[in-house]
Amino acid sequence: MDNLKAIIEALIFVSDVPVTSSRIEGVLEDVKEKEISFAINDLIREYEERSGGIFLKEVAGGYQFRTGEAVGSWVQKLKGQKQASLSPAAMETLAVVAYRQPVMRSEVEKVRGVDISGTLRGLLEKNLIRIVGRKDVPGRPMIYGTTGKFLETFGLKTLSDLPTLREFKELGE
């Protein structure tokens, strides 16, 4: 493997968060942006073709190594305790925040028809959503949006990678 690809592979491997190409550029000062992006795409393709236990993925605006879906249950077994998934209620609140952001708590409650303080707090604690500011209306209510961790958790490159709401509307009818 050429040296550039080897370096990039190692940089992505050691990081605990998705590594952005600008961070890689910051380390490899003299290398052109284009060369770096070529090398990354080469690596992604190689792992894809090899079809092993790990893959290089583009998520949350960066790059990260992850295990493949096919081996997930074995990793789960190694890790022991089952990872706490989000409850359906939390997932509903998250869906409304994700699609309607920036959104006020009252708007989410109107859609779901229930009080959402519990799920909102849980999602804030898990760092899947965050307070993005206040709305310029009387009472200046807080507004919420999703985080980079949300993109990372759901394996999305950007928010525009979310399936459109229209797709779900059709599903529902």
Partner: protein
């Protein structure tokens, strides 16, 4: 049906709208043409079942019960001339709209759940056991939640009442104090009029004045006049 027949279903609903959707699906009726009398009757039975089981019935269930009853009564009324003039609105319209919207987001939530979730379906490397680098040069984006959580934590420890309520007015005053200090750091000296002039509204004017008083009191700024009734000049005290 007995209360027991509903019992098993109670905790699977995410709220009143979810229960309503379930009833519509169960009866295989058209969401755009809900047989309101039938659905209301069944809905009420669930509510009664919850009550008889002494379940903590969330207020939202009762609100929807009232809405359903109201729609039902309106549908029984003969259409008056006034209603005709208003375009003959179906009393169910608003509820159907709300249900459809909720349904879309419920599907979206299921869609999210079907994705490959990190930590459930796919895994990254565990970095917990690796030594942390001591150098901290840049800060990552930190959520405000972490900050408030930290503040709440200590407020609980101390239990001081005055710590518990920080109102927006105090923060607005702090904003103005910071603005003035910033401006003085940049320009060295300002006149009293400079500071009061650029205030667009009355509220801001008051905050500016209070901020100057606070800053003088704390000896963060010095205000001086060359001659009586002359221009008041303000500069930072620490220089």
């Amino acid at each position: 049906m007995t209360a027991g027949a509903y019992e098993i279903k109670l905790d699977i609903f995410e709220g009143p709208l979810d229960l309503l959707l379930y009833l519509i699906r169960k009866n295989e009726v058209d969401i755009y043409d809900i047989p309101i009398a039938l659905i209301t009757r069944q809905y009420m039975k669930y509510i009664e079942a919850m009550k008889s089981l002494n379940l903590d019935l969330a207020g939202e269930y009762l609100v929807l019960a009232a809405t359903l009853t109201h729609i039902k009564s309106r549908m029984l009324l003969p259409v008056s001339e006034e209603d005709e003039k208003e375009g003959d609105v179906d009393p169910r319209e608003e509820l159907v709209k709300q249900l459809l919207e909720y349904k879309t987001f419920k599907e979206a939530a299921l869609g999210l759940d079907r994705m490959n979730i990190l930590g459930r379906d796919v895994f990254g490397r565990d970095h917990a056991g690796e030594e942390l680098e001591k150098e901290e040069q840049t800060l990552r984006e930190i959520g405000i939640f972490e900050l408030v959580e930290a503040f709440r934590r200590i407020s609980l420890d101390i239990g001081q009442k005055d710590l518990m309520e920080i109102d927006a007015e105090k923060m607005s005053l702090s904003d103005r104090i910071n603005d003035i200090v910033d401006e003085l750091e940049r320009r060295g000296e300002l006149t009293f009029t400079d500071l009061l002039e650029d205030t667009g509204n009355r509220k801001r004017l008051i905050y500016t004045f209070l901020a100057i008083l606070e800053l003088v009191k704390l000896r963060i700024i010095k205000a001086y006049q060359a001659i009586p009734y002359g221009t008041i000049r303000i500069c930072l005290a620490r220089k």
